[in-house]
Amino acid sequence: MMAGEGPVSAQRPVTVEAGEVTGSYLADGHTLKSWLLTTDHKRIALLYMAAITAFFFIGGSAAALVRLNLVVPEGLLGSSEAYNRLFTAHGVIMVWFFLVPAVPVTLGNFVIPLMLGARDLAFPRLNLFSWYLFMVGGAITLWALFVGGVDTGWTFYTPLSTSYSKSHVVLAAVGIFISGFSSIATGLNFIVTIHRLRAPGLTWYRMPVFLWSLYSLSVLLVLATPVLAITLLLVLLERLFHIGVFDPAFGGDPLLFQHLFWFYSHPAVYMMILPGFGVVSEIIPAFAHKRIFGYKFLVWASVAIGVISFFVWGHHMFVAGTSLYSAVLFSILSYLVAVPSAIKVFNWLGTLHKGYIRFDAPMLYALGFIGLFTIGGVTGLWLAALAADVHLTQTYFVVAHFHYIMVGGMVSAYFGGLHYWWPKITGRLYPEMWARAAALIMFLGFNLTFFPQFILGYLGMPRRYATYAPEFQVLNVLSSAGSTILAAAYLLPLCYLVWSLLYGERAPANPWGASGLEWRTPSPPPTVNFIETPVVTEDPYEYPPPVAAEPHV
């Protein structure tokens, strides 16, 4: 990897030639075909956004039913079978069809070429193909979930998934397998694009942190997803042909499945959160109106997280019968991954320090992210500690921990980024007061939903059961009540963002006064992104010096 400060420029300027459309990409064709066969990264980002939004609300509905069931100790739905299928549907949809793809394929797809000063991704047709793979995989998985569902949990642990489950494991796994290739195609496209299509003067150290984060994420996508593919394939073949790889009845080894699965799925956790880090690193300097603090530490922390994340998977298996020595090693490595994560948090705080902070909606989401991610991260250390993990594993403590990272962190970042780039994407401003209200309600609803679960888990309530002991009811009711607030908060942006498409104020090119190439082209950008390829001559986050403040006496 080239990381020098030298005058490395991947691209010479490309100028608009005769016949190229210089108007808004949204006006470049109004037919269905002009959308479904587009190779424009901006339009593909919107195709993805429509799909991701649908998956988010389907997965969210499953979660709502899970919380509904847990209002009473004996379970409102009255069926453990149905409950198992619900939380599996929630996990499968949210992990593979929302959390992993959400930021990269929507915001990333839209913004990467703009941030690079490029006209498109390196492989636009591959980009469109990846959307179709995603849709086919998603449709098959949804079909599996609607015709009867899967009861194995999103982890597909063997031998339950291969021999004992009587649910639609095969269909769901085929859907996930196919959508995995969509992830691989996206990651490949991003890596090649960032290497090859940087504007003149855009050296690696002049790239925004968002690009570094997505680069690191893409490496994870490209290296880890194929391992998930072969693992799911082995599960499928074992289930279909009754041959053993994982089932001890056929001479197989169930621990092997866990190793392979978590070799993908732990990096997958960082696939979900790394783009969130990137989004927050854009929003914080823009709304603190200040250069980002410790740029090089931030970018190398992204890379370090990507690398270390490949060596921590064993912490999912502390109680699965692995050797003590491997457990100690994985515990230490898991502690280690907290270091670059903490570096990021401190750097964001350093950026805020003495900044000119504006509390617009994207900033509220970003600040929420910092707090909730920190809680999620610190509780992760409890689970990385071998002795504490024995008590806490398989309880609601784990559920609360990863929801603080995934929902408190990643979903906040997604909404923050969505609001931040909404004017650029649509050419419209969203209603600011509504957006701030939604951000605050989301924060409150989230904490009310998930904080009680830390206590429940610490008190010993196991996860994945449809019923529970009566003494846990108060905290469960609190959690379910919080989830209704959270649901309302999620519906708000759906309403006012759609409203803004029709009635929102027209957005100027740079409504936030933010630095970054994407703000130097009109909102919405022309199909070619830049009428003239920009030449980069400065570092990222080059904010004008703040207005002269009163000197301290």
Partner: protein, 237 residues
């Protein structure tokens, strides 16, 4: 920071000509690239990265294979000794020759000799088909006839070696099956390249797909060069 003022929704078109491609030196290139050579290098980089994902895909399988053999070595080796060493070795020679033919084709296209390219690629294709015929027409047929499929109730091996031998054949069938699927994809791609060569799409200046497919074709060989010792040699050692 300059705000470029273009009214949103306005559709300004400079002139009526095909919009998506720039032109340079007679070879087309996509509008995000400055010239065809730069685009070509980028495409090849993408192909290498794709092959890296394939390494991880087969890597997961081969790692599981080696790990499971470690657990039940006697059974694995008993299973491996029933494989058809002659067919496997012949196939190895066939595949390497096929890649050689393709690589020769790449040398010719770089010199602009499209007639010889077509011949080389046809030879590579024929050898690929010969591999598949031997592997699936002969070897798999015999394996099924000898009840070697791992869930076959009359699996020939009994006793302590049975579970391990069955596992060996799990990996044997999955490994060769996946490799065969990759061969089929490769054969389709080589056919596509031959058709395009005949149509006169490629020249000394533009032949990126020939090289990209060649990389894939050689990669599938390399997968075989990993599977070959695992299947035929290790258990006989």
């Amino acid at each position: 920071m300059s705000d470029v003022a273009v009214a949103p929704g306005s559709l300004a078109v400079a002139a009526a000509a095909p919009p998506r491609h720039g032109s340079g030196a007679g070879v087309r290139h996509d509008f995000q690239y400055r010239d065809p050579a730069y685009q070509s290098e980028t495409a090849i980089a993408g192909m290498w990265l794709f092959l890296a994902t394939e390494v991880l895909f087969f890597g997961g399988l081969i790692l599981s294979w080696i790990y499971m053999r470690h657990g039940s070595r006697a059974g694995f080796d008993a299973g491996a000794r029933r494989t058809e060493l002659v067919i496997g070795t012949t196939n190895t020679a066939i595949l390497i020759t096929s890649s050689f033919a393709y690589a020769l084709g790449v040398i010719f296209i770089r010199a602009g000799d499209t007639r010889r390219v077509a011949k080389c690629l046809a030879a590579a294709l024929a050898l690929g088909l010969a591999f598949l015929a031997l592997k699936f027409g002969l070897e798999w047929r015999d394996d099924f006839a000898h009840h070697l499929f791992p869930s076959d109730p009359s699996f020939p091996m009994r006793g302590s070696a049975e579970a391990g031998a069955r596992l060996f054949y799990v990996f044997y069938f999955i490994g060769t099956g996946l490799h065969g699927l990759h061969m089929l994809v490769g054969i389709a791609l080589v056919c596509w390249i031959i058709a395009r060569v005949r149509r006169g799409d490629f020249s000394r200046d533009y032949h990126t797909p020939v090289i990209a497919v060649g990389l894939y074709w050689s990669f599938v060989d390399i997968v075989w060069l990993t599977l070959y010792p695992l299947i035929y040699l290790v258990g006989r050692g």
